[in-house]
Subunit: 235 residues, 2 copies
């Protein structure tokens, strides 16, 4: 006999599991409130005991997916014990790409559309937003570690311009005291990685490269070298 709280938590998990199943099999459009209820043998109104709306269910699913991706990437760093931080970043970047290619529907849900309401006042307390921050922190912290381990050369101030330097200097405390130029390079790494994976997963690279794997590897070498990491040549 399980307590009521446990039973509630169990069904809540079942709901999200069913939603995940529908997402994988039929894309984000397939994960409807009624479809989830059908999957569990429940009537649609029953789900309102667990989520105030369909949108809330989706948001919870998004938060869960972010956390799943975050822990998967962190495990990738810890299980394979690689002392070299550059190699670790390489693993991380490839881990994100592989996750996106293996779970395109989930990836699209997380990164494919615009962030819902970026200027709502309660946005920062949203579970989904906090999960997204935890995800971003994985990369941010590793890059900061790399910087403090072996400071990489960053572009001269003439390239960045005064205004950008001012903006980046404000972010210095969130980047463990890195100078603006180094933050710029970190941001460049993230921006390029993100753009590359999005384009490949969403199929917007097919028209020129049917298999973007080699291109991704080359780009990874390029942005890795920009961070002072010595990457092995391709062949």
């Amino acid at each position: 006999m399980e307590s009521r709280d446990r039973r509630r938590a169990a069904t809540l998990a079942e709901i999200k599991a069913a939603a995940r199943r529908l997402l994988v099999s039929g894309g984000s459009a397939a994960v409807g409130l009624r479809a989830v209820a059908r999957e569990l043998g429940l009537t649609p109104p029953a789900l309102y005991r667990y989520f105030p709306s369909h949108e809330a269910l989706i948001s919870a699913l998004i938060a869960d997916l972010y956390d799943e991706l975050t822990t998967a990437l962190m495990q990738l760093q810890t299980t394979e014990d690689v002392p070299d931080l550059g190699e670790r970043l390489y693993l991380l970047a490839n881990g994100l790409r592989n996750w996106g290619l293996a779970h395109p529907a989930e990836f699209a849900l997380l990164f494919g559309t615009a962030v819902p309401a970026p200027d709502a006042d309660d946005h920062d307390e949203t579970p989904g937003h906090q999960a997204a921050m935890r995800f971003g922190a994985v990369f941010k912290e590793l890059v900061a570690q790399i910087w403090h381990w072996k400071p990489f050369p960053y572009p001269p101030d003439e390239l960045l311009g005064r205004e950008l330097i001012a903006q980046l200097t404000q972010e210095s405390e969130h980047f463990q005291g890195m100078p603006p130029g180094a933050i710029y390079l970190s941001l460049t790494y993230w921006t390029r990685l993100y753009g590359l994976i999005c384009m490949e997963v969403f199929g917007q690279l097919h028209w020129v490269l049917p298999d973007a794997g080699a291109y991704f590897e080359a780009q990874l070498r390029e942005i890795g070298e920009a961070l002072g990491l010595d990457c092995p040549p391709a062949d």
Copy 2:
């Protein structure tokens, strides 16, 4: 008295105009078949005289938006008569960014989600796909012009790797005979530009840069220099 064909063409245009209006005011979710009909004072089934399905209406809207964006970018090149091809590329990149920032809903519809069915056999004949190709050709051709005008140095083969070079060599005819290394750099330019604009428009850069304008400028200088273009410093 207008002929029947003209009347039909006129209503067809009105339908797409109404759909566009709904898209702008309420996002892609707001452009429903019934909503469009309501906007025109028609009953929903009437629209089936013009589009076989709701999805077809959206596809037509997408194709129109691609063409609108393409002509806007081409006009940007011709009206402001700039002889320097590097400056022209700069105008083009900024034009795309400004269009995305000014029309976020339209931009999301074009670039935000995965390409619907990339492996359908009739996909290449789709109006939307052809419009997307025409859009991509604007950048592709300008970069090829730049190459033939002032060939830029490209990375050594060791960075790219044999497989990638083989893939890029196959694309050489579509890039006006450019060598694989130059195609690689062109692709890098496009990939970085695309990723940057997507992230900014979709608000995924807000957490670190409230205003990404200066960052965009710096990135544009960086990738411009990679193409051998002499960009003016920031300050």
